[in-house]
């Protein structure tokens, strides 16, 4: 049976996926973690000089010259833990 659970990332775990030295490039937005590794615009985990992979870009997106639709082209690989997340499973059921 296919495992439909998504990995839940802490901020520290997400930071490891910074696109550097062969690591995948993940970014978070509104609780979802996206894999942007294959994007030309996220090479080495850098985006337009000021943004870095491995971070939660929810606030930055408010100032971006593009909408969320651009991010939704990329695969979702997990969710970002909220501050009040409980201990236990690091997986979250897909909604």
């Amino acid at each position: 049976m296919k495992d439909r659970r998504l990995k839940e990332f802490s901020n520290e775990e997400l930071a490891r996926y910074n696109g550097k030295k062969g690591a995948p490039a993940y970014v978070a937005y509104r609780g979802k973690v996206y894999d942007v590794s294959m994007s030309f615009l996220w090479k080495e985990g850098n985006h337009q000089v000021v943004h870095r992979a491995g971070e939660d870009l929810t606030d930055a997106m408010e100032q971006a010259p593009h909408g969320v639709d651009i991010l939704e082209k990329f695969p979702v690989v997990g969710t970002l833990q909220t501050k009040d997340a409980r201990h236990g499973s690091s997986f979250k059921e897909l909604e």
Binding site: L41, Q48, V49, Q63, A64, H66
Partner: protein, 183 residues
């Protein structure tokens, strides 16, 4: 470098090194677009292709003008172009506007063209937002380029059937907004 000009931008609160890097990335996008549009234009053949060849050529020439206009500002602010042209290509702020698998598919060709322009519109909107009221020269330059990129986007969007652009093709010289930076 224009030392005092750079200092004024620094004093306004802008991270000048970041701004220069953005200008270099956008200059790379312009020059690579000029190159890739050359290939696209050459492949706009037949009755359908001929209909958009002229307007693709105008966008191509104007994007090259954008590159020419950006270069002096990069150096004024103490920056430089990369010495390696391959590195310059890969630093582009926009993905390469590559020829679609089927160049006879006019919709696919137009999609490549319109997405390239949309990336440019976003890029210069961002630079305008950064520099408005702070770096007057870069703002003036970026706004001029942005005006032309918006027109490019609207032309290709119209051809894709997304609604009227409100424009007519260029009559006379190219780069009505950017030409003052090319004298």
């Amino acid at each position: 470098m224009a030392r005092v000009a750079r200092e004024m931008v620094e004093k306004s609160g802008i991270n000048v090194d970041q701004l220069v890097e953005l200008l270099v990335k956008n200059a790379a996008a312009e020059l690579t677009t000029y190159y890739y549009y050359t290939i696209l234009r050459c492949n706009l053949i037949g009755l359908e292709g001929e209909g958009i060849k002229e307007i693709a050529e105008t966008a191509r020439v104007e994007d090259r003008n954008h590159f020419e206009a950006l270069v002096p500002r990069i150096y004024e602010l103490g920056g430089k172009l990369p010495e390696d042209m391959k590195a310059f290509h890969d630093a582009s702020a926009c993905p390469p506007a590559r020829l679609p698998k089927d160049p006879t598919d006019i919709k696919a060709m137009l999609t490549v063209l319109v997405e390239a322009e949309r990336c440019a519109v976003r890029g210069y909107t961002h630079i305008c937002n950064m520099t408005a009221g702070k770096d007057h020269r870069t703002y003036d330059l970026s706004q001029a380029i942005l005006n032309e990129e918006i027109e490019h986007e609207s032309w290709f969007s119209e051809f894709l059937g997304e609604g009227p652009s409100g424009h007519f093709m260029r009559r006379g010289e190219t780069s009505p907004f950017v030409s003052k930076f090319l004298r």
